[in-house]
């Protein structure tokens, strides 16, 4: 087995991973390991923008952004982390601009800003232009710019290397073992600091906005290493996924003034968020849509509603939402200048993830004991910035701010560590070797597609916008059964070179692992908060549940623990839009 030694190894080449690599690469030897070419990362699919209180268009203050983020998170976010997020937002936006991100501009030449759901001025009063954007391709523009900067600085990129195992012993991370997709074969990455920036997990749902690569790899690797995941039950459903495919239609469409219309032709948000209407946060809108659909007011009684942009006019659509126009045409056959777009709630974002501190260092328990040399940022991490519900445009921001912070922290850690790379523990790569052998050698009868599709259907049906004790118990039963069936999985492609069937088989294993804490955490949390809405417990319960869930995978199943929420400035209040 080939062993690569680097000071820092970043796993994942989206916004968080590349930002961190930029922060470490001029100081210490840095490598980025990614299962796709960096520009294929899902960050590139982010459309609407990146929030920062620049105040370029109207007066804005970080305190206002802070309040919106706290309230958006339904008071489950840690306010120390959220304060850093919003305070450093202008800094990273300026840094992005300086690196070359082609932001859209105001007439004076400043970075243009647009309104977005959940972002308001003056502590929740008026819609706020806070989202810095590059038309509706902001993530694409940011991702490509960071990739270009990595090329410039000569960051070592291991493209199409797929992480199979994380080497963690006695609260210290030594690296990981990855599969070289192109040639086949295991490579060990031995490092002083490892950062997970592996992104989201929404591929576990049938209707999702996510890339096919978003299989929560980092999350399951952390679980398997005996470390916990935090707040996994909080899954964001984006209100505007294209009907059937789930492909993302940016919230920018509503930010720019789009309407949501039900089968009776009503702007139904009047009933649910009379003040903020379509600019209410995503959890609120997704629930409203689902209620309309469940009560038979979908379009022609079907499971979708309409997003109507026609009144914005051709010029505004082509100037500010060109990609929406393109996507609606290519994937729904709808010209949104002439017709409304059919949309439905679509699994979108993981609020929970790998618990970290505000420097990106991974934490192993309720007492916040750090794991030495292991970092995480971006969607796979949970600092927690987003609590129970993330605001639109806060995710690319999270990637930039916390990717950057993790990078700085890793560079500092490596400098303090000194020259010596700690020896790899005995048999460090064995689990990866076993995994590879098991999948290649298996003669089991089970086929991948059946297990995976059943999982995704179950998750959409039972772990969707609305949940109940029954639905979640059912989901857990199905997942347990699928986990058993997975052991009998075999693949047809036995070749070493570019074996995507092998990759999909490993990814399916990841999917089956991380969904369990989502369900178990959701079953335990007997309240409704943010994106976790239980019909049998429709109220928020601050007395019992204003706390973070931690979930460990053990022989006996998922073990839960809890830790308090950090509240520094805004005490919980009723959340109304």
């Amino acid at each position: 087995m080939i062993i690569h030694r680097h000071d820092v190894v970043v796993v994942g080449a989206g916004l968080a991973g590349l930002y961190a690599a930029l922060m470490t690469s001029d100081k210490v030897d840095t490598a980025v390991v990614s299962k796709v070419y960096p520009t294929r990362s899902h960050s590139g699919a982010a459309q609407g923008g990146c929030a920062a209180s620049l105040g370029n268009e109207v007066e804005d203050h970080w305190e206002w952004h802070f309040y919106d983020t706290v309230r958006g998170s339904d008071f489950l976010g840690d306010q120390d982390a959220q304060e850093i997020l919003v305070k450093e937002a202008p800094l990273v936006i300026y840094e992005c601009e300086h690196m070359g991100v082609p932001f859209s501009r105001t007439p004076e030449g400043k970075i243009a800003q647009r309104p977005f759901g959940g972002h308001f001025g003056n502590f929740g009063k008026t819609p706020m232009r806070r989202s810095c954007y590059a038309a509706d391709r902001t993530g694409h523009a940011q991702l490509h710019t960071l990739f270009e900067q990595c090329l410039k600085r000569g960051v070592r990129l291991y493209n199409e290397f797929f992480l199979l195992h994380l080497i963690v012993r006695d609260d210290r991370c030594y690296g990981g073992v990855a599969w070289d997709l192109r040639h086949g074969g295991l490579h060990c990455f031995h490092a002083k600091a490892v950062m997970l920036a592996t992104g989201g997990y929404a591929r576990a749902w049938k209707i999702t906005t996510n890339s096919m690569s978003n299989t929560g790899d980092g999350l399951s690797l952390v679980l398997r290493a005996g470390l916990p995941l935090e707040d996994m039950e909080f899954v964001q459903f984006h209100p505007t996924g294209l009907y059937r495919s789930g492909i993302l239609v940016s919230e920018a469409a509503r930010g720019e003034g789009g309407y949501l219309i039900n089968g009776k032709g009503e702007r139904f948000m009047e009933r649910y968020a009379p003040e903020k209407m379509e600019l209410a946060p995503r959890d609120v809108i997704s629930r409203s849509e689902q209620t309309e659909i469940d009560e038979g007011r979908g379009i022609n009684g079907e499971a979708y509603v309409h997003l109507d942009l026609r009144h914005l006019g051709r010029e505004a659509i082509m100037e500010k939402l060109p990609q929406i126009h393109e996507l609606a045409w290519k994937f729904a056959g709808v010209d949104c200048i002439e017709e409304p777009i059919p949309i439905q709630p679509s699994a979108h974002y993981a609020m929970g993830g790998i618990p970290t501190d505000v420097h990106g260092q991974v934490l192993k328990d309720e007492k916040k004991t750090p794991v030495v040399g292991l970092y995480a940022a971006g969607e796979c991490a949970c600092v927690s910035n987003h609590g129970a519900n993330r605001l639109g445009t806060n995710s690319t921001l999270d990637c930039c701010v916390y990717g950057r912070r993790s990078g700085i922290a890793m560079a500092k850690f490596v400098a303090e560590e000194g020259e010596l790379l700690p020896d790899l523990p005995e048999g460090a790569a064995e689990p990866a070797r076993e995994l590879v052998t098991r999948i290649f050698k298996s003669k089991g009868k089970e086929r991948m597609v059946e297990i995976r599709e059943q999982l995704r259907e179950t998750m959409t049906e039972n772990m969707g916008v609305f949940r109940t004790e029954d639905s979640m118990s059912k989901a857990l039963r199905v997942v347990k059964e699928l986990q058993e069936r997975y052991k009998e999985l075999s693949i047809q492609d036995k070749s070493q070179q570019f074996n995507t069937e092998f990759m999909e088989a490993v990814e399916l294993g990841y999917l089956l692992d991380f969904v369990e804490p989502i369900i178990v955490g959701g079953l335990a949390r007997k309240e409704s908060r943010g994106a976790h809405f239980r019909k049998d417990f429709p109220q928020r319960d601050d007395k019992n549940w204003l706390k973070h869930t931690l979930a460990w995978k053990t022989e006996e199943g998922i073990r839960l623990g809890y830790k308090p929420v950090v509240i520094t400035r805004f005490p919980p209040e009723e959340r109304k839009y």
Partner: protein
């Protein structure tokens, strides 16, 4: 449910003596894309079929391939618009095949690196705010920054087929994106790279890249602008 026949290029250079074509029949519900059909084949008929894919909505650039002779993204190619039967699916031509529809893109990315695809700045930017850029200046980047680096253009270019050292439309479009960025100060360094037998002047205005681009961009036009820029500085 309607079905369609697909004739797909299969080749693993490590195990196969020569490439072959394999036919599959697939159910294609309304709205199916070629990527949906490939997934259907891989998941229900033949797990060994290999291709790249990720976002499935035309932004990641993974699934560029040659479909009925034309380069496009499999995820955007609606099956019902493809008239020829069977639908022939092949890897992007003129890139080395790794396996089936997967090609080696390293050379493509190396070319990109040659044109210095990053903002080159000599005057330090202001520390606590953005550099200003007028909306008109920003507009110059439209039609260039949207490139997803899928490789469909470069692989469709006859000049690239004949000259593997040619930078190709994608790298040249990237050069355009920076040379015409008013914030950039590396124009001359980049023009020096482009003003070369295997650079700008290898483009013979064939326009295949324009037809191939899934994002509707026009690299030929951008290359023309770059040629004019070099000439106006030289003569």
């Amino acid at each position: 449910m309607p079905t369609r026949r697909f004739k797909i290029f299969r080749y693993n250079p490590h195990t196969d003596e020569r490439p072959r074509y394999q036919e599959y029949e697939v159910q294609v519900p309304t709205g199916s894309t070629v990527l949906d059909a490939l997934n259907e084949i891989k998941w229900t008929q033949d797990g060994t079929l290999t291709y790249r894919r990720s976002c499935r909505h035309g932004i990641c650039g993974s699934c560029a391939m040659t479909i009925n002779g034309a380069n496009m993204l499999a995820c955007e190619a609606q099956v019902h618009t493809l008239k020829r039967d069977p639908i022939v699916v092949e890897p992007l031509r003129s890139f080395p095949v790794i396996k089936d529809l997967v090609v080696d893109m390293d050379g493509f990315f190396d070319k990109l690196l040659l044109v210095k695809p990053y903002l080159i700045v000599k005057t330090p930017p202001p520390t606590d705010k953005e550099r200003y850029q007028s909306p008109e200046d920003r507009k110059l980047l439209d039609g260039a920054y949207e490139c997803i680096l899928c490789g469909a253009c470069t692989s469709s270019c006859p000049s690239f087929w004949a000259d593997k050292e040619f930078l190709g439309p994608a790298a040249l479009l990237k050069a355009y994106r920076f040379i015409f960025d008013t914030r950039d100060e590396g124009v001359q360094e980049r023009l020096d790279v482009l003003d070369n037998k295997h650079g700008l002047w290898r483009c013979h205005t064939i326009f295949n890249c324009v037809e191939a681009c899934p994002k509707g961009l026009n690299p030929t036009w951008a290359i023309g602008e770059l040629k004019k820029k070099v000439i106006s500085e030289k003569f």
